[in-house]
Amino acid sequence: MRCKKSFKKLTRIKKQKYHKIFYEVHKKYGISKKTLFYMKEYGPRTNATKTIIKESVKILILASLISSLGGFSLEYMKAIILHLAPILIMLPAFNDMIGDFGTTISSKFSTFLHESEIKGRSWLKRELKKLWLQVMILSFITSFFTYLLSLLISIISNYSLSFSIALKVFIISILDTLILVNILFFVSTFLGFRAYNKKIDPNNFLIPITTSIVDFGNMVVLSFLVFIFF
């Protein structure tokens, strides 16, 4: 009876808290803590479906809400955007591309912060500068590549494209990417340093923050640039 009660208590432990039994089992039987944790969450006597839904649904709804707010600014510019085939073609690609940059910057910066404990601050500065240069070069190349592809597809599908529209779309694509990548870099480093100084692991919250910035920011910056140039 007592054992049953203790077991019930154990199953209610929040995932953030590793119970001491994890360490004891890990020590005694050599089973990794990761395996024990995975078994606790999705093991044979758990309701894995419920666990997955419970842990994911809030963040997914929040992400959808943020994206919808970004989409709201696009809806306002709909009349113009619908007539700009290259912008429409670039839209999903830009969202993916800048989102990937956000994930890369956040995860790399988090790793740099941990490594700087051993390698020192001057190493961190050097690595950050290198990452910034890499991301800037890559974002320029990839946005130019996306622009070229979208232009090519527009021409093939008989979209009447004047030189001035092509030039404006080029400026919008480069500006949109560079503005967002720099915002992402600033937010990641600023919040990352603050979290690290407070002894919080930046890995746990930098990625959701940067992806939310991309979801909302990309739509708003793009709509704003379309509004200015057209």
């Binding site: 959808s64 989409g71 709201f72 999903p92 591309m97 990937d100 990839t142 996306t146 979801d215 739509m219």
Partner: protein, 180 residues
């Protein structure tokens, strides 16, 4: 300082992959503009709908990868309890999030644009179910296949899911428009 190193090349590869997928999805979006985007409120739900696919399938691939690496999931067995639970959870999550997206679209349309268009509520739900029916088996199959080949699915599945997710999402939106 060496800028073009292994990291740079890896980032370039994954970006190229996701750009191609995104451009294909964007091309369909541009071709079928009149069908998809002329419905008021579609641009409100579109970014969230495209993102939902990547978020749900991405988490699914990552959970399966962890299970495979830890030896809890057998790479040669598909019909196990843990995989069934993952499939059901992913399906239910899509329905819940699509329902939420539809409600947001309907509310914003009504409150801001003073238009009551019921299609905007049903389109994401139907499209979500259709795209899930394609994307979930694809994610499971590719994660297992990559693991069996000795690759780390965590490094490869991200760009694959975002690219294929965009394309299947646009296709499913088109099919749901025909149904609605």
């Amino acid at each position: 300082m060496k800028i073009i190193d292994k990291n740079f090349k890896e980032m370039m590869f994954s970006q190229t992959f996701s750009i191609i997928g995104g451009v294909i999805a964007g091309t369909f979006l541009a071709i079928y503009t009149e069908k998809i985007l002329l419905i008021p409120g579609m641009l409100i739900i579109l970014p969230g709908f495209l993102e939902m696919r990547g978020n749900i399938s991405g988490s699914l691939a990552s959970r399966l990868s962890s299970g495979l690496f830890l030896g809890i999931i057998n790479p040669n067995k598909f019909r196990t309890r843990i995989i069934k639970c993952n499939i059901i959870a992913s399906f239910l999550l899509v329905v819940i999030v699509s329902f939420f997206l539809g409600t947001i679209g309907l509310l914003i349309n009504y409150l801001v644009f003073r238009k009551l268009i019921l299609e905007i509520f049903f389109i994401p739900i139907i499209a979500g179910i259709i795209s899930n029916a394609i994307e979930i088996p694809l994610t499971i199959f590719l994660t297992f296949h990559l693991f069996r080949k000795g690759e780390d699915p965590n490094n490869i599945m991200g760009p694959i899911i975002t690219s294929t997710g965009d394309i299947t999402s646009i296709f499913s939106l088109l099919i749901s428009l025909v149904i609605v």
